[in-house]
């Protein structure tokens, strides 16, 4: 599904070159549940953003279903993100002025129709948020916010979920609830790449990648 070939990402920080990903190569196959681990600054988030077409690598190639992701135009890459990739972040990144339904429907590529609304309602129901659709994110608990972020990521039935420490701000109970949703998505054939420090997903992941200073340390 996603092939990384010698992917390197360099940043310039305060005049010095920092290598966040160093000749990273790996294959992510359809239906895999992969956890990505590593110490802070090891390049986990960079890897996730690069896999998701959000951050152009300094060198190397990222292929998504055989297409060179960064050879696509910005608009085609945006379309691909919208239709095939779901993102979930530790900080939720919900739109503060939209209600819950609006926050899910914001992921809709165009004007949401009846089907999208129905899908959004189903997701809110599934994530136990249907009784709060007219609330705003700041009225939710951290667990509820993250469930909402997962619901948003799933609206367009993506092939892959890229999650960056989604349980980092959650208590163990809520963390386990969120992981359950990733597991359910995985069981329906979805691919999950989960950056995590925790152990909640250990029993479900069928592969683990370890990064150290931007290098693949263990696969």
């Amino acid at each position: 599904m996603i092939r990384c070939e010698e992917v390197t990402k360099r940043f310039n920080k305060n005049g010095s070159d920092v290598i966040s990903l160093d000749r990273f190569s790996a294959d992510i196959r359809n239906g895999e549940f992969i956890t990505v681990r590593g110490p802070s600054g090891s390049g986990k988030t960079t890897l996730l953003l690069t896999l998701g077409g959000m951050q152009r690598p300094s060198a190397g190639k990222v292929c998504f279903d055989g297409q060179d992701l960064y050879a696509l135009s910005n608009s085609k890459r945006a379309n691909l993100r919208s239709s095939q990739i779901g993102f979930v972040f530790q900080m939720f990144y919900l739109v503060p002025y939209l209600d819950l339904l609006g926050n899910v429907l914001i992921a809709s590529p165009g004007k949401p129709g009846k089907l999208e609304r129905q899908r959004a309602m189903e997701l809110l129901e599934k994530f136990d948020l249907s009784n709060r659709i007219s609330h705003r994110p700041d009225e939710l608990s951290a667990g509820e916010r993250q469930r909402l972020a997962v619901a948003r990521a799933l609206l367009n039935r993506p092939k892959i979920l890229l999650a960056d420490e989604p349980t980092g701000n959650l208590d163990p109970e809520n963390a386990s609830g969120v992981i359950d949703h990733f597991v359910k998505f995985h069981k329906t054939g979805g691919t999950v790449v989960l950056v995590t420090h925790g152990t909640a997903a250990d029993g479900f992941a069928n592969r683990s990648i370890r990064l150290d200073k931007g290098r693949l340390n263990d696969d």
């Binding site: 988030t45 998701g52 945006a78 993100r81 993102f87 990144y93 739109v95 002025y97 914001i106």
Partner: protein, 383 residues
Amino acid sequence: MQLWAQIICEIGFRKLNAFFSFLGLTIAVIIVVASQLIAESDERETRRVTRDMGFNLRLIPAATDLGQFYRDGFSKYAMNASTLDRLATQLTNNVSFNHLVGSLRRGYAVNGQSVLLVGLSKTYIAPGQGKKPMGFVIKTNTLHIGSEISRFQGKNKGDTIQVGTQHFKVSNDPIETGTSDDITIFARLEDAQSILELEGKINEIEAIDCLCLTTDEDPLTILRKEIGEILPNVQVVHKQKLADARAKQRQTREKVNAIVLPFVLLASAVWVALLAVFNVRDRRQEIGILRALGKNSWRIAGLFLGKAVLLGFVAATLGVVLGMWAVLEFGPSLFPVTKKAIQINPSLALKLFVAAPLFAAFASFIPAMLAVSQDPAETLRED
């Protein structure tokens, strides 16, 4: 989610930012409306004042003795009527005068009464100076008579009066003016030429100067030079008080248009732009996640430009209403215009409904581009 729905929700959420943008735009619209209406009113007022005062430039044959001219009210010399045509052809160029009327003026006796007989040509108006001639228009076979003539001759509107060998119908209700107009008969130029047996002649051209001068420039020198180049055989008499009155009116309008308006527009643009920059900064993470969700640059720019357009349109609506009300209410006490001269301008309102949203979008353009060019990965990796 639809763009407009999202914009409206965001405005409702960040009320203060939207309110201050709206306020800046509304004030700008109010000032544009007010200055434009005042300028238009001032133009009307100037025309009215000038019309009431009469022409302020008198061109008379060069040989005229000014002592005789001021004593009698006309030059005893005459010039060819073609002089007027020559001057009129220059009106299409950038000349400093307009509204030309040629006249033939002479003392004359009507049934034992000494009167001033004035034959008036048609009015030549420079392009862009309106269509209405100054003063009144005299129709064929009619005369316009002063109140003293009316009293002495016992003639009123509709009556027939004999002047020389010709008969004319009185076309006006004579009203006492307290000026030489009370003993003046106004006729068509051709009729006056025929009565005075001075066919093809005139002895004066009246005009209005349209010099837009600063206080340190001498209008008479400029006018004499310009007219002297076209008609070397005339001398120019300038009614300074009338010219000053016109200049004062004009300068009031120009001050508003040249200083206040650009300043207000610039200040408003900077204000709206700054608020849009703050808005972009506040929404960095939102922009990042929208990018992650696959929203393209048009959509991101649309959020900011659309907001500006919406606020601009609402500001135009309120600003037009408030601006027009303010001018009607306070204009006559703050500016040298009368309430009668102030008129609502629907086309200005329509223009502003288009211009204000465009102006707001223009002011928000750079912030919108900042939003578009923002690296979403940078914001999404922030803890």
